[in-house]
Symmetry: C2
Subunit: 250 residues, 2 copies
Amino acid sequence: MTEDDFLRAYDPAAFPRPALTVDLVLMGLRGGCPAVLLMPRTEHPHAGRWALPGSFVRLDETLDEAAERVLRTKAGFTPAEVAETHREQLYTFGALDRDPRMRIVSVAYLALLPEALFTQVLMGDAGLSAARMAVPGESEAGRPVAVFAARDRAARTALPLAFDHADILALAILRLRGKLDYSDVGFALLPETFTLRQLQDVHEAILGTTLNKPAFRRRMLDRGWLVPTGARETGTSFRPAELYRYRKPL
Amino acid sequence: MTEDDFLRAYDPAAFPRPALTVDLVLMGLRGGCPAVLLMPRTEHPHAGRWALPGSFVRLDETLDEAAERVLRTKAGFTPAEVAETHREQLYTFGALDRDPRMRIVSVAYLALLPEALFTQVLMGDAGLSAARMAVPGESEAGRPVAVFAARDRAARTALPLAFDHADILALAILRLRGKLDYSDVGFALLPETFTLRQLQDVHEAILGTTLNKPAFRRRMLDRGWLVPTGARETGTSFRPAELYRYRKPL
DNA sequence: AGAATAGTGTCTTTCAGACACTATCAT
DNA sequence: ATGATAGTGTCTGAAAGACACTATTCT
């Protein structure tokens, strides 16, 4: 950016550049477990493995716009669904041998889907499959993450992931965990209105621990981000819980 | 990354790609204030403004390696100095109009320099200048950061920064602040051995607040990262403080 | 001795964890 | 009434803030 002498004589096409892509971690919760949407690879390289949806970055779009385009074109999101999805840049992966075909640098994004949207996308015709993510313990922090077929909950054999996508997934869950209690990312995994129990379930699923109920409620309510709707949960066979709405802190 | 049909017929040179660079925020402390090393721009575009040292990413180096190369070739670091510098990837900036000449995506890195090394690099012949960073308050979080000439401490007129480098600096100080009390980045700004007061000064400079002395000491010592050397500060006209060494937690 | 800072003892306050308790709904 | 979960009151313990105090060095 600051190489003046270099740039003055620079022919944009003259020097070889790495290719640039975005890869998206589409994360949601399925049955109380973190899950991710993956595409099966059918061709070389890494045929038979599972990959994150991604795309090359075009010259006329920003990185964020490229990520949105992947949501629309690779995952079948409608513009409205794109709008209700939390997205943030995760990290940029630039190892030399990430892809055997050529040098590709990839900007990884994390997208968080409420459970209903996750299911809807999964049922759509985009060809995405859900994989349950093993929540790593403290000791495994930083290691690649193992994912399992979402069909049977007791599956033991890990799905093979393409490229360095296991590293990307590991970073995604770590980032999510780190931001969970000081930011508002947790709400991105919940529907418009939700109960405090649902919110606690989200936190517990991502942290992989159980939380103290009174302390959790106190903290969340004291934070001032929750607005009681006055409505109650329906369809339970017991006392229905109050429904809250998340209000963005000014 | 996962566009199979596209890639099979892909000629690496056939499609236009954004250029890819790394830009480095070389940060240290000067006289109790966060400071950054900048290069003056002498040519169009943004001539007369100040820029972060950076470089294009080559095909045969990773992003981290490109950042190291900038340290060596643009900032005049010796390999030993590179080794004693903390580096981490910050964020990737991909706005369309970042650079008026062509589409350039830049991976920003944060490098932390102990005060002695900061001064040494500044005095070197790499042409870098030091600029004092205005530590933004809570209300200005996320805004571009203003920097001032380091010569006179009372300077009021902000230095003009090139490209989106004010945004990069803003993110750098925010990231540093966020990681300060749960990670060990603070030690990267200190020499090999240091006193607890120096450590507290580093934290106060970056946070822009004052801290409670007994509480700070308790927290730091309880964390188990500090090893007393047995030696004492020298050159003071009062009681010399114990010198500690940072020991990487296993 | 005096100045200046290093380093500590202790009280208070705040907040999380634990546990039991009450409240409210469907059946 | 019973079962099941929602929601709360309160005790306890850990840790931060505040403040005063002692300790140690140089001049």
